[in-house]
Subunit: 316 residues, 2 copies
C-alpha cells in the first residue's frame, strides 16, 4: 500500500472549511479576498531519506527545498516554515551545519522559519511550509483537462542516477563522465524547485504536481486520478544523453527526488511556454498529452515502451 492509499483509507476525513483538503501537493485555506494560504508538511527519516553520513548542510537545504517544491507546484510563493527536529542527542557541529543549510535554502527562496520544536527520538526532520497562492492562478491536480499538453521543467533523472549509482553495471558506469556524476550528486543533495518559472508560467498552466516520487508515479496522480490517461514521448523528455546512450530510460521515468514540476497546459499556450523557457534560459519541454484513455502510454522512437515497475513507493 503506498502513501496515497494509506492517507486515503485512514485519514481522508471530510473537510468543510478548508478550500482544499488532502490529495494535492498542499492544502488551501482562506487568507484574504485574493489569496489562499497553501500548507504542506514533509518528513525525512534516518535510513530512509538520509543516513548518518549525509552532509548536514545539504540535509538542511533539502529538508526545506522538498517542502518549497510543494508550494511551487500549487502555483504559490513559499513564505513561512516550521521545523520539528528529532535527534538522539544534540551534536553542536551537526546542528550548526544543518541550520546553515536550512538557512541558505530559506534565504534563497525568501522563506522565514517561524516555528520550531526539538525532540528526543530517532533522527527525523519534519517541515511544514506555508505559502501565498493567488486564488485566480492556483494550480490544482484536478484542473487538468483532456488534450492538455504535458510539460516538464528542466532535465530529470539526475537524482535517481546518484541514488542508484552503485547498482549501475560497470559497463554503463564507465560511460558516466565526472561532470555527470557531479551533476547527479548536486541534484540529489540540493534540489532547486523552479519557483521563478512556475510563477511566470502559472497563468498558462491548468494542473501541476511536483516530481518527488518519479515521473511515472506522479503522472498517475494528475491523469488516472482525474479519470484521464496520458501519452508520453520518451524522446521528448529532457535528460542527459547518457541515459539515452545507455538505454536507462526506466531510471529516468521511475526515479524520484527530482523536485521538478510536471504541468499541463492548453496547446494554445505552447509558444508562450517555450518563449518563457527561452527567456529564462531554462531547459524544459512538452513531453506528451493528456488522453481520454484511462491508461498511461509511453512511446520511445514511435514504439510502445513498457515499464517494469511504476515508480518509487514508500511502502512496498
Amino acid at each position: 500500500m503506498n502513501e496515497f492509499d494509506l492517507i486515503n483509507k485512514y485519514f481522508n476525513f471530510p473537510t468543510v472549511y478548508a478550500d482544499l483538503g488532502i490529495g494535492d501537493d498542499a492544502a488551501l485555506i482562506s487568507k484574504n479576498k485574493n489569496e489562499f494560504y497553501a500548507i504542506s508538511v514533509d518528513t525525512l527519516n534516518l535510513n530512509h531519506h538520509f543516513t548518518n553520513t549525509s552532509d548536514p548542510f545539504y540535509l538542511g537545504w533539502k529538508s526545506l527545498a522538498v517542502n518549497i517544491s510543494d508550494i511551487v507546484a500549487m502555483g504559490g510563493i513559499p513564505r513561512y516554515a516550521l521545523l520539528s527536529l528529532s535527534i538522539v542527542k544534540p551534536d553542536a557541529s551537526w546542528l550548526s551545519k544543518f541550520a546553515k543549510g536550512l538557512r541558505a535554502c530559506a534565504k534563497k527562496y525568501n522563506v522565514e522559519l517561524i516555528g520550531g520544536d526539538t525532540n528526543k527520538g530517532s533522527p527525523s526532520i519534519s517541515i511544514t511550509i506555508i505559502g501565498d497562492v493567488l486564488k485566480k492562478s492556483v494550480l490544482r491536480r484536478d484542473k487538468v483537462q483532456v488534450n492538455d499538453e504535458i510539460w516538464l521543467t528542466n532535465e530529470i533523472g539526475y537524482a535517481a542516477l546518484h541514488f542508484h549509482y552503485n547498482k549501475i553495471p560497470q559497463k554503463n558506469r564507465q560511460a558516466i563522465s565526472s561532470y555527470l556524476k557531479k551533476s547527479a550528486h548536486e541534484n540529489f543533495i540540493k534540489p532547486m524547485p523552479p519557483l521563478n518559472f512556475i510563477q511566470k508560467a502559472k497563468n498558462f498552466i491548468n494542473g501541476a504536481i511536483d516530481l518527488s516520487d518519479g515521473l511515472a508515479g506522479d503522472l498517475k496522480h494528475i491523469s488516472l486520478k482525474n479519470g484521464f490517461g496520458a501519452e508520453i514521448y520518451i524522446d521528448k523528455i529532457p535528460m542527459h544523453k547518457w541515459f539515452r546512450e545507455n538505454n536507462f530510460y526506466e531510471l529516468v521515468l521511475t526515479g524520484g527526488e527530482d523536485y521538478q514540476i510536471l504541468f499541463t497546459s492548453h496547446k494554445k499556450n505552447h509558444n508562450k511556454i517555450n518563449n518563457l523557457l527561452k527567456k529564462l534560459s531554462m531547459t524544459g519541454a512538452m513531453i506528451g498529452y493528456v488522453s481520454n484513455k484511462k491508461r498511461i502510454q509511453y512511446k520511445l522512437h514511435g514504439q510502445p515502451f513498457h515499464l517494469s515497475k511504476d515508480g518509487f513507493r514508500h511502502f512496498g
Copy 2:
C-alpha cells in the same frame, strides 16, 4: 541543553513578515484585518512520548490534543491540522484505531485534517495545527505584567502520577484510590485543553502558556524570560488531595503533560475569572503573583519550598 536553548541557538532566524516567530506556543501570521493564523507543530516519538504498547486510539487523540493546546494557549480557536506519520510498516488495525482517536479529538474540537504525509521510518507522529486568533485578544507570553495574578486551569499532577506510577514507593501507592489511578490514566492518555474557558476568559488574560513540560519549567518561560519572577503558593494549586497527604508536591510542580493553561491577569479581573470558572463548573485557581524579583519562589504553608529539579527536559 533543553528544547528552548537548542531552538534559540541554532534556529532562531530573524523574522520580518511573520507577526510572531519562534518563542511562544505558536507563531502568528497575518490572516485578515482582525485575525491572525496561529501555527504550531509538535512531534511524538516512539520510546520517548509513546511505546509499542500505547493504545493507538488514545495516541491519535493525544497527538492532536497536544497541538490544540498550543492554539488554546495563544487565545485561538484550532481549525486545521496536518499529520506527518512515520511507521515501520502499515498495520491496518493500528492505523484504523489511531485514525479513529485522531478523528474523535478532531470532532470534539471541530478541527479539520487538511494534509497528510506517511513515511517509512521509526514510528513518529508530527502534527501541525492552525488556528484563528483575534488580533485584539491574542495571548502572548511576553504580555505578562508585573503584579499580575497567576492562574491555572483545572487540577494538575494527574498525568505525572500516571507516568511515574511505578516509581512511587509502596507506602504512598497504597493510598492511591482506584478512582485517582483511573483519573491519572485518563488525564495522561486523553488530555483536554480548556478551549472553551480560555475563549471566554481571553479578554481578562495578559499572558498564557500551556503546561506541557510542567508548571515549574513553563512558569520560567512567562516570568524569567520576561525579566520577571513569580511567587507561587503551593497551597492554592488545584490538585488531588493525595498529593498533599503524601507530600508529593514536587511531582505536581515538575510533572509534565497536563496540557492545562497557566495564565496571568490583572487583579481587577479576579472576580470575573472566578465567576467564569463557577459558571462553567470548572476547577481552576489563582496560585500566585508575577513579581519583579528575577526568581521563582514557591511557598508551602507560608514557608519557602525548594525544588530539587526544574521540570521535565527534552535533553538532559
